[in-house]
Amino acid sequence: MATLAAEAETQQNTPDAVVVRFAGDSGDGMQLTGGQFTLSTALAGNDLATFPDFPAEIRAPQGTLFGVSAFQINFGSTAIETAGDAPDVLVAMNPAALKTNVGALKPGGLIIADSGEFNKRNLEKAKYENNPLEDGSLARWDLLAFDISALTMESVKRFGLGNKEALRCKNMWTLGLALWMFDRPREPIYDWLKGKFRKAPELAEANIAALDAGHAYGETAELSGPLKQYHVGPVKSDPGLYRTVTGADAISLGLVAGAQLANLPMFFGGYPITPASAILHNLVKMKEFGVTTFQAEDEIAAICSAIGASYAGQLGVTSSSGPGIALKGEAMGLAIMTELPLVIVNSQRGGPSTGLPTKTEQSDLYQAVYGRNGDAPMPVIAARSPADAFDVAIEACRIAVQYMTPVILLTDGYIANAAEPWQVPNPDDFTPFPVTFLTEKNAGDTLLPYKRDAKGARPWIKPGTPGLMHRIGGIEKQVDTGHLDYSPANHQAMTDARKAKIDGIANSILDQEVCLGNTGGKLAVVGWGSTYGPIHQAVRAARKKGVDVSHIHVRHIWPMPKNLGDLLRGFDKVLVPEMNTGQFKTVLRDQFLIDAKPLTKTSGQPFTIAELEAAIEAMAE
């Protein structure tokens, strides 16, 4: 892949792909800058992937190293599957942002720094002894330093804003410059600013002025040297309507679509937690789809209310992150015992305990598959990218209502926050799975609330239905009747029935495909969840070099596709990269007795393509 740094050498300004990282203080609005740059990049027809990386503190002390907020985007005229290993361009709004991010910058990459912020105080806070813009320590890179703060102040002077407010426009100035650099339209940003500041039109005007000033600065700068314009052409995509989505958006939309396909109103019970809250924030705005949302007093109440709603005939959904999922454990067991549908979304973050609230990890897989008391089998599926999260959410709803079971949907902080282009699906392309409730006794004169259908699922009976009064609960149920029954043979029979039902879900899912490479050979790299992008790119690169390696990415973690064991046995070696200490690897070994090897990373950062490529090459030797 041609990169900007490489292109600079050949003096052509038309790279295939570019990685830009915006970094600044948490108060500098870098996430907004990144988000808007993403939008204009998407509108320009590039493929893209983003990686927002921000601190857990809402307003960390200004200028500090731990208060740095960054947003990375990789965009190009070819297929983009990761946010990029190393940036070609780093925009550093203060010394701390430079210090924490410059190490990742490609050799020969470009640094754009706001020299106005490189004052004594900020340098001290960033633990710089000398000003790096002046001491030659950045010689490995191209450096463009100018006083963005002063230029911004100048550009908004005529609006008579206070100092603080004027400086707030800095991020728009920077965005304007970035838009010029990559030849992106400003109109979508104008529209967005006008909408955002509808109630304060002068602020909209000031921000637009700053944006234009940044753009003009690039245009007219006599800046010789590193600053030039780059043209990244549009990617070839299937014809259709596109938008960008984050994983949190896609899950919310997928849940709404899933409920519609099931022909059910949806009840969402949640309790705020990073990075899961966005789903609740989204769903409160979708009430016309029969969505009821409930901010409960804690995660236990959130799941219990959702189970209550499912019991009453709606599609109950709850969502949280590791610590909250732990609290929900006991209630999941009840949903398993009472065989009620429920979707539980886990937006994983670094753990254990509070761990790394804003960083990504895949370390709740054991919790999802095994983490309950008793023999409590429950389907688990995982989204591999923001756009994929839509389909996976629909699949979770389908399994829940067709099999009368709670389902865990695993996503993670990376997917939740990252954005990518998404071809807007046509709802008519999805097969509906409408639910039928039991309305009459199902065994002659008697009601058997636990009589199973061919799939092993019991009927769904709404309270309020005349003549079908019955009692359910967490105590072991008698086969068919659902009466309390602790007898040994009955518990054996019911344990077996619950397991068989969940195992049988494998009959309703597609065979595991190989997403890149062959159905057998030397090495299979098996991933799940958000490692999809880097694995795919790394496998592609290794294959180009002639390595016999294939990429298999598993959506259905439990139960797994029926052909998966045989498929993996067709490879000499199996490598399982995961952002944990090797959890899926353990499940694969256990289920298939294969010698799957782990590749683990728990730094709170996604895998880089280079890391994976190195591991693949080492293993393929």
Binding site: G240, F289, Y311, P427, H470
Partner: protein, 337 residues
């Protein structure tokens, strides 16, 4: 309570075919009968009635009522009830809990259900002990209670469920006891109240905390220690020979003697169910010096949770059509030819 079409049933219609598994002589039997007697009088429809409970001896209750029933997990019944009611506000929900279930592990949920004012009837069976787990002391056990976990007597001060309920913002608070003939009337009042109706029912656990309420709840001979509160009537007890008056200087309640039925002269207070200040004093009256306040202590309805939530939802939906294709294509889009 719920606006509902009246259905004709008898006590028998509310009995299930399940064997009742409480200890013989347990106060729970009397409460079950009182409920099964009351439901026909309310014209309740078994198909539209849901009993929701947590875990404990008391929480086995739903298995014995021929209606819909959900025996959930320890302490969380209020959360299940909230989901059920929001999903189908037509259902008439009775929540059954115990002093451990509702005040210990589930105290948080009880508090939030009450402050939200979820429309349901809450029956808290207070036996001042953990029955199902074999007799450990509970948050309502009296100081010094000997139990398997407190061989030298419990040291933590008990809490008062009714005071808790008032503090949490409950709009209906009442009390009764298992074998009382008045219990049915209290339950009817709870059912008539729209919103969360909290009823503490003293219940005799004859195995682990036998007869601890006998001083006011013995089947016979304790009537004089009962203050039955009735709206608009003077707070009299002991066959009208004593009453409750306000000590205006200390701003507390006091017991006064009533001579020749002249309660006015003795300054006895007339019960006003909407007076929250007096309600607080009534639930806090130390038993011994005072009688036990029973009946409807407080009843001052406010809009119920599900009514307000679903009203907001309806407003949010006004004039909007559920167009999924449009929703998916929201925000800025571009077309690839």
């Amino acid at each position: 309570m719920n606006e509902m079409t009246s259905i004709t049933t008898t006590l028998k219609d509310w009995e299930t075919d399940q064997e009742v598994r409480w200890c013989p002589g347990c106060g729970d039997y009397a409460i079950l009968k009182a409920v099964q007697r009351t439901l026909p009088e309310l014209g309740a429809d078994p198909a539209n009635t849901v009993f929701v409970s947590g875990i404990g001896c008391s929480s086995r209750f739903p298995y014995y009522v021929e209606s819909y029933g959900f025996h959930t997990i320890h302490g969380r019944a209020p959360a299940f009830a909230t989901g059920i009611k929001l999903a189908n506000p037509e259902l008439d929900i009775w929540l059954v809990t115990g002093d451990g279930d509702g005040m210990s592990i589930g105290g948080n949920h009880t508090m939030h259900m009450l402050r939200r004012n979820l429309n349901c009837q809450i029956m808290l069976f207070n036996n001042e002990i953990y029955g199902l787990t074999k007799g450990q002391y509970s948050p309502t056990s009296r100081l010094g209670t000997n139990s398997p976990t407190t061989p030298m007597g419990s040291v933590d001060r008990p809490m008062s469920p009714c005071a808790f309920a008032l503090g949490a913002g409950a709009r209906f608070v009442a009390r009764g006891f298992d074998v009382s003939k008045e219990l049915s009337g209290v339950l009817k009042a709870a059912h008539a109240h729209k919103g969360a109706a909290f009823v503490e029912i003293f219940q005799n656990c004859i195995v682990y905390n036998k007869d601890v309420f006998n001083e006011f709840a013995a089947p016979k001979g304790a009537e004089d220690r009962q203050l039955w509160l009735r709206e608009g009537e003077p707070m009299l007890f002991a066959k009208g020979t004593q009453g409750i008056a306000l000590d205006v200087e200390k701003l507390t309640l006091k017991v006064v003697d009533v001579v020749d039925g002249n309660w006015q002269a003795a300054g006895v207070i007339v019960h006003n169910v909407t007076n929250k200040a007096i309600a607080h004093m009534l639930v806090d009256m130390p038993f011994g010096a005072f009688p036990m306040a029973l009946g409807v202590i407080y009843d001052d309805p406010r809009p119920s949770f599900e009514e307000v939530v679903l009203g907001q939802d309806a407003k949010a939906r006004e004039g909007k059509v559920a167009n999924l294709a449009k929703l998916l294509a929201q925000g800025q889009t571009w077309t690839v030819e």
